[in-house]
């Protein structure tokens, strides 16, 4: 059967859900979208966008190493992203004396180095051509029930952690010195957040691919931030936008046979541009 978009919503949704692989993909994407939107919201607030970028690069050699060792890809993703989080946390400590330019050179070198290592491992594995594209740009195929469960567990853990530390983390992100003076453990929070970000990125990568993580991690929070200054509203909006981006990407990909990445990222940039434009309009 060739799926065809009929613009009759119930029938389209029925078509979407008629294959188990599509149900798995949609569930996994929804779980990941909610988690990525919340973690990404804090990431944008803390100005750690490029840490997220580098963590996603780290996941590429992780997946390749896991494939080479015959382990499940998810194991490689989580292990390498956690490692990346530790490295970035360490580099932030070192970087105190280094100049800003040096630091960006380090980030650039680490990112390129991670991708180079991943490509090397993948070549050694010999599976370059089929898996490369889906590793880098995501794919709607091949999400199993087990993976959906793992993702859901990770998402639960991440959300529970954020729920517990939300208040001090917000305080520490907005005004570090004042938080420190009020005995909030700012440094411990920073390291813990990086680790959680690593987990979230490792989970997101499995849906969006290594290179398109920002579609779910940065875009929803960036758009929500443009629309409202209120914390709760903006967090909720970010989750809704994340789900919309994930669903539209998967749905259109299913009906057109093109990769979900193009649709997700295009929707993200269009929404972002609209939000920007709306904000610059005069307020009545």
């Amino acid at each position: 059967m060739n799926p065809r978009l009929t613009f009759d919503v119930p029938s389209d949704v029925h078509q979407l859900l008629s294959y188990p692989f599509m149900v798995n993909a949609l569930e996994a994407a929804s779980v990941v979208a909610v988690m990525a939107a919340v973690v990404g919201w804090f990431m944008v607030l803390r100005g750690e966008t490029f840490a997220g970028h580098t963590l996603s690069m780290m996941s590429f050699p992780g997946a390749a190493a896991a494939a080479l060792a015959g382990l499940p890809l998810a194991a490689g993703y989580f292990a390498f992203c956690a490692l990346g989080a530790v490295i970035i946390a360490g580099a932030a400590e070192l970087g105190g004396a280094a100049r800003q330019a040096q630091r960006s050179a380090v980030i650039g070198a680490v990112g390129a180095g991670a991708l180079a290592a991943g490509y090397l491992l993948l070549s050694l594995y010999g599976g370059v051509l089929e898996s490369l594209e889906s590793l880098l740009f995501g794919s709607i195929l091949g999400v199993t029930r087990g993976e959906v469960l793992t993702l859901a567990l990770v998402a639960l853990g991440v959300m529970a952690f954020l729920a517990v530390v939300a208040r001090p983390l917000f305080f520490a992100s907005v005004d570090g010195p004042l938080a420190r003076a009020s005995r909030v453990p700012v440094r411990a929070l920073a390291v813990a957040f990086l680790l959680v970000l690593g987990l979230a990125v490792a989970a997101t990568v499995q849906i969006t691919g290594v290179l398109l993580v920002f579609a779910l991690l940065v875009a929803p929070a960036g758009i929500a931030r443009e629309l409202t200054p209120r914390i709760g509203v903006s967090l909720a909006l970010s989750v809704l936008i994340g789900l919309l981006i994930a669903w539209v990407g998967l749905g259109l990909s299913y009906f057109t046979n093109y990769s979900p990445g193009f649709f997700s990222t295009t929707l993200a940039i269009v929404l972002f541009a609209l939000a920007r434009a709306a904000r610059s309009l005069p307020v009545r």
Binding site: A101, A105, A112, G113, A116, V218, G261, I269
Partner: protein
């Protein structure tokens, strides 16, 4: 010539591209424009795949896309100081667009699936023909000469923009010209080490050189030397040990050099 055939071609093109990337990378790190280099490398990927999908020579897409976006960055960069969220969303859209072109290309040319992505993203320097290598070398040399021609005022404008502007150095025009040269280098380096890895060739040797010396001329020479050495060692490694892709080897060696300078 001791090296003929594909290894000779790779050495010729790779050496020229390495020298150019080392030199331009030194300015990139000095000016804090590593992320502009990152952006242009993403664009290189999309440009190459757009050309592939349209059935044109990859290099047409590479050069057209990178130079256009470099101009755009230069013009917009002055007025709108873009934050990392904007950059992130634009990045990811550029790559998303690249994926669409990849799909279009794959559905057009059955059987070529995957190779084009691997070639553009991670380079295919051993696949260059003699003519392509010579052209790449000439373009790299031309770009390097252009950069050296504006080198002194660019250095001044990078280190102290207000003072340079007061001394009637055209800071804005220089910034724009530099971004265009960076775009040309990104298009060149994509052929050697690929769109995803060229940032390593820009950032790692230059970062190492900046750590080792504050003297600009010594720094530029050092960055070029490290880039050249990384390329030679990397190409040798991937030539003698089968299974190691050249792009990975070159970047691996360059990053190792950088790590070494941080460690000592």
């Amino acid at each position: 010539m001791p090296f003929s055939g594909f290894l000779g071609n790779a050495l010729l093109a790779g050496s020229c591209i390495a020298l150019l990337s080392g030199l331009i990378g030194w300015f990139v790190v000095l000016r804090g424009q590593v992320f502009a280099g990152d952006a242009l490398s993403h664009v290189a990927f999309t440009g190459a795949l757009a050309a592939a999908a349209a059935g044109l020579d990859l290099r047409v897409g590479l050069f057209a896309a990178t130079v256009l976006v470099a101009l755009l960055l230069g013009v917009l960069g002055e007025r709108a100081r873009s934050d990392d969220v904007t950059i992130g969303i634009v990045f990811v859209w550029t790559l998303g667009l690249g994926v669409l072109f990849l799909d279009l290309f794959n559905s057009g040319a059955a059987g070529a699936n995957g190779t084009i992505a691997a070639r553009t993203l991670f380079g295919s320097i051993f696949g260059l023909t003699a003519g392509e290598a010579r052209l790449a070398a000439l373009l790299a040399a031309g770009t390097a000469v252009a950069l050296l021609a504006i080198g002194r005022p660019l250095l001044f404008a990078s280190i102290d923009p207000p003072l340079a502007a007061a001394s009637r150095v055209p800071v804005r025009a220089l910034g724009l010209a530099f971004l265009v040269l960076l775009g040309l280098d990104a298009a060149e380096a994509t052929q050697a080490v690929g769109a995803l890895l060229l940032l390593g060739l820009l950032a790692a040797p230059a970062g190492a050189a900046h750590r080792l010396t504050a003297n600009p001329y010594r720094g530029m020479a050092l960055a070029m030397a490290i880039a050249l050495l990384s390329t030679w060692i990397g190409l040798a490694l991937s030539y003698w040990i089968s299974g190691i892709p050249p792009g990975s080897a070159v970047i691996g060696v360059a990053v190792a050099f950088y790590a070494l300078t941080i460690a000592i």
